[in-house]
């Protein structure tokens, strides 16, 4: 029962959606100010979801109806679970595992691949192939980084990582932590599907590509998933590299850290053009993986 409350209310679905949607507003507002525009009011994210919810859901002829509608829901359930694990673990002794959390965050991408290929649209199928390639590219450096943290800490669980950092200071204080953090920021940017890695959607190339056939409530679920991921993934980074979340004054620190990561993500989004998929793969498998391996070696040497 308690777990259900965690999952549905705090820090799960309701709380994460609200913060996530506010974060999307923050994202849009800051982007707008960078671009000399006015930007939307704070409730824009909620209004968008509300509008989409009462629009008609159109399922393409070729698609399997239940699968087409349910797949995005699986994605939403997965990210909510991931956020719950991240949030609860700092206050209760729940055995959470960073690898599990990272792959829970992967489920929306897989759901999207399913939906995109089910829709039978040529532009969607190009988007699907890009999503798969992108997923494979950013996953490798990120997993290396998680292994690096494991090497240092000796455990995958959030509890272990937080405790180790409370004793030895946050990982980001060391050089390997800084390198790892920068690489992880780019991986998260790609995972969230934001410019410069918004290839699967690529509005001006594919006309929303992989999302093309999504409509109404299904699209709303997808948007909500993305908003919750925008809330969850930065906290994933904070726990992994930046000392985690402690109670009391720590909450304020956590919020400040979250905002800083969010601003970094927004700046990357607004100062880069979209890369091509081959460039993205080269980038992640070359520079980023190389950097992650170097960080790992540095961590092993203890620099």
């Amino acid at each position: 029962m308690k777990l259900l409350v965690y999952y549905l209310i705090f820090p799960g679905f309701v709380f994460a959606s609200i913060i996530g949607l506010l974060s999307t507003w923050f994202d849009r507002k800051v982007s707008a100010r960078i671009q000399w525009r006015q930007g939307p009011p704070w409730y824009q994210g909620f209004a968008d979801i509300g509008k989409l919810l009462y629009k008609e859901v159109i399922v393409p002829k070729e698609a399997n109806r239940s699968g087409f509608v349910l797949a995005p829901l699986f994605g939403l359930a997965a990210v909510t679970l991931a956020v719950t694990i991240l949030g609860v673990n700092t206050r209760a002794s729940f055995v959470g595992d960073m690898i599990v959390v990272w792959y829970l965050f992967a489920i929306p991408a897989i759901a999207l691949i399913y939906v995109g290929s089910a829709s039978g649209n040529p532009l969607s199928s190009v988007g699907v192939s890009r999503e798969i390639k992108l997923f494979l590219s950013y996953d490798l450096p990120m997993v290396i980084l998680i292994v690096m943290v494991f090497m240092k800490v000796g455990g995958f669980s959030i509890q272990a990582i937080t405790e180790w950092q409370q004793i030895n200071g946050p990982i980001i204080k060391h050089w390997y932590g800084v390198i790892g953090f920068i690489i992880a920021i780019f991986c998260i940017q790609a995972k969230l599907g934001r410019v410069p890695f918004d290839l699967p959607e690529a509005e001006t190339e594919l006309g929303s590509g992989i999302l093309m056939e999504l409509s109404g409530a299904v699209l709303a679920v997808y948007e909500l998933t993305k908003a919750i991921a925008l809330f969850g993934l930065p906290f994933f980074l904070i726990i992994l590299f930046w000392g985690g979340i402690s109670s009391g004054i720590g909450i304020i620190w956590a919020i400040l850290k979250y905002l800083l990561i969010l601003v970094l993500l927004i700046l990357i989004k607004n100062t880069n053009p979209r890369v091509r998929i081959d460039q993205a793969m080269k980038y992640f498998w070359g520079w980023m993986t190389g950097g992650a391996i170097i960080a790992g070696i540095l961590a092993y040497m203890g620099v």
């Binding site: 000399w36 040529p122 190009v126 192939s129 410019v195 001006t204 190339e205 880069n272 053009p273 091509r276």
Partner: protein, 403 residues
């Protein structure tokens, strides 16, 4: 590998206007392109035959919202060629000012759109912010932010007073710095360079063969510029050069456009300072029978107008050829072997203006296509009218025709 057809258009977020590109794709790689035009025919040439010589500039101005000075200018040059009159110097300089303002605003618009097409919305918004200054100058000089209605056969419609000239000189001087910043932003950004350099190369030979025009050809090293080649009145005494880049890729075209902006800034400055008091209109009173051609370098390339007169107060025929008509087929060369991601950018790189290009194409049920010419169109319309009269027993009213 299996070939699939990825359609871009006729309605697509990339295109502001309806146009259909069929990309034959193997994986992400484009192996061939088909361009289909003909979605937006507006019958401007026919309409022009029903307007007086002085009214036509207002009509051809509306061929394109962006080249809204180039088209009337080319038309007026054609009429002046027909009646063989010389435009007063002040009028020629005012034409230079307005036309070059238009060039800057068109190029900045393109830079913004190109940024948007590669997902770089910050460049889009910033370029359009600086473009706003141009629109304000235009409003101050002509009363309109767009569709300036300044050009008329024989001269210009309105004179500029000292206050306007001073204002324009001040504002135009402020524009060089942001343009240089944009040039820096495009050429120094490594990610931007990766997206633009070596993409969609149009070699020199192909640019000549397809007779590409404007920045599309100048980006491939072909130094064609009607303003220079024709030594147009107004331009020939000013100090400026034709911008040429050798690489032929999207990056070269972007650089050509941005450097042309700087060149235009200097042209406007020179024209405004050189301006001396004098008449602004050669006052054409009569158009004798005959024909004339007008060529002018629009922001997208050479725009060509042909007029024929039978001695009445209306043109007998007006023919328009917009630059995009020549530039579209170059996709056959520049898109081959590129990825879908780049095709979006390459199609944008010629700064296409589809409505200006449209001609009528007819496809019958078996898929045979042909393009209709004037005579065939007239014949078709006569036949249709006869058919309707036969069916109804009388001439239909405008309402019944659905007009």
């Amino acid at each position: 590998m299996k070939r699939t057809i990825v359609p871009i258009g006729p309605y697509h977020p990339l295109l502001e206007e309806p146009e259909h590109f069929k990309l034959y794709v193997e994986g992400e790689r484009v192996v061939d392109v088909d361009v289909e035009i003909g979605y937006n025919h507006r019958g401007i040439e026919k309409l022009a035959e029903g307007k007086t010589w002085d009214q036509v500039p207002f009509l051809v101005e509306r061929i394109c919202g962006i080249c809204s000075t180039s088209h009337p200018l080319a038309y007026c040059l054609a009429v002046e060629d027909l009646v063989d009159c010389k435009v007063p110097e002040r009028a020629a300089l005012i034409r230079v000012v307005i036309a070059e303002l238009e060039r800057i605003h068109s190029h900045l618009l393109w830079v913004g759109l190109a940024g948007h097409f590669i997902g770089y919305n910050t460049v889009w918004m910033w370029a359009w912010k600086y473009r706003e200054a141009i629109l304000e100058i235009c409003e101050k000089l002509t009363g309109n932010r767009n569709h300036y209605a300044m050009i008329k056969p024989g001269g210009v419609r309105r004179d500029l007073n000292d206050e306007q000239i001073e204002y324009a000189l001040k504002r135009i001087g402020e524009l060089a710095a942001p343009t240089n910043m944009l040039i820096g932003a495009v050429s120094d950004d490594p990610v931007m360079g990766k997206r633009l350099r070596g993409v969609g190369v149009l070699p020199y030979e192909d640019a000549v063969l397809y007779s590409a025009l404007g920045p599309t050809s100048r980006g491939s090293g072909v130094p064609w510029d009607t303003r220079k080649d024709e030594s147009l009145a107004g331009y020939k005494d000013l100090d400026w050069k034709v911008i040429v880049q050798q690489d032929g890729d999207v990056f070269a075209k972007a650089v050509v456009r941005l450097l042309e902006c700087l060149e235009s800034v200097s042209l406007i400055g020179q024209a405004l300072t050189r301006m001396e008091e004098g008449p602004i209109d050669a006052e054409i009173t009569e158009v004798p029978p005959g024909e004339g051609c007008g060529r002018y370098e629009a922001p997208r390339g050479e725009v060509f107008h042909y007029v024929r007169s039978d001695g009445s107060n209306m043109p007998y025929r007006v023919k328009v050829r917009a630059p995009t008509f020549n530039n579209l087929p170059t996709f056959k060369v520049s898109c081959k072997g590129e990825t879908i991601a780049d095709v979006a950018l390459i199609t944008a790189s010629i700064d296409p203006c589809y409505c200006c290009t449209e001609r009528v194409g007819v496809v019958d049920r078996n898929g045979n296509e042909k393009t209709l010419r004037e005579k065939a169109l007239v014949r078709l319309s006569v036949e249709k009218t006869k058919e309707i009269i036969k069916k109804m027993g009388r001439i239909p009213t405008l309402y019944e025709k659905g007009i």
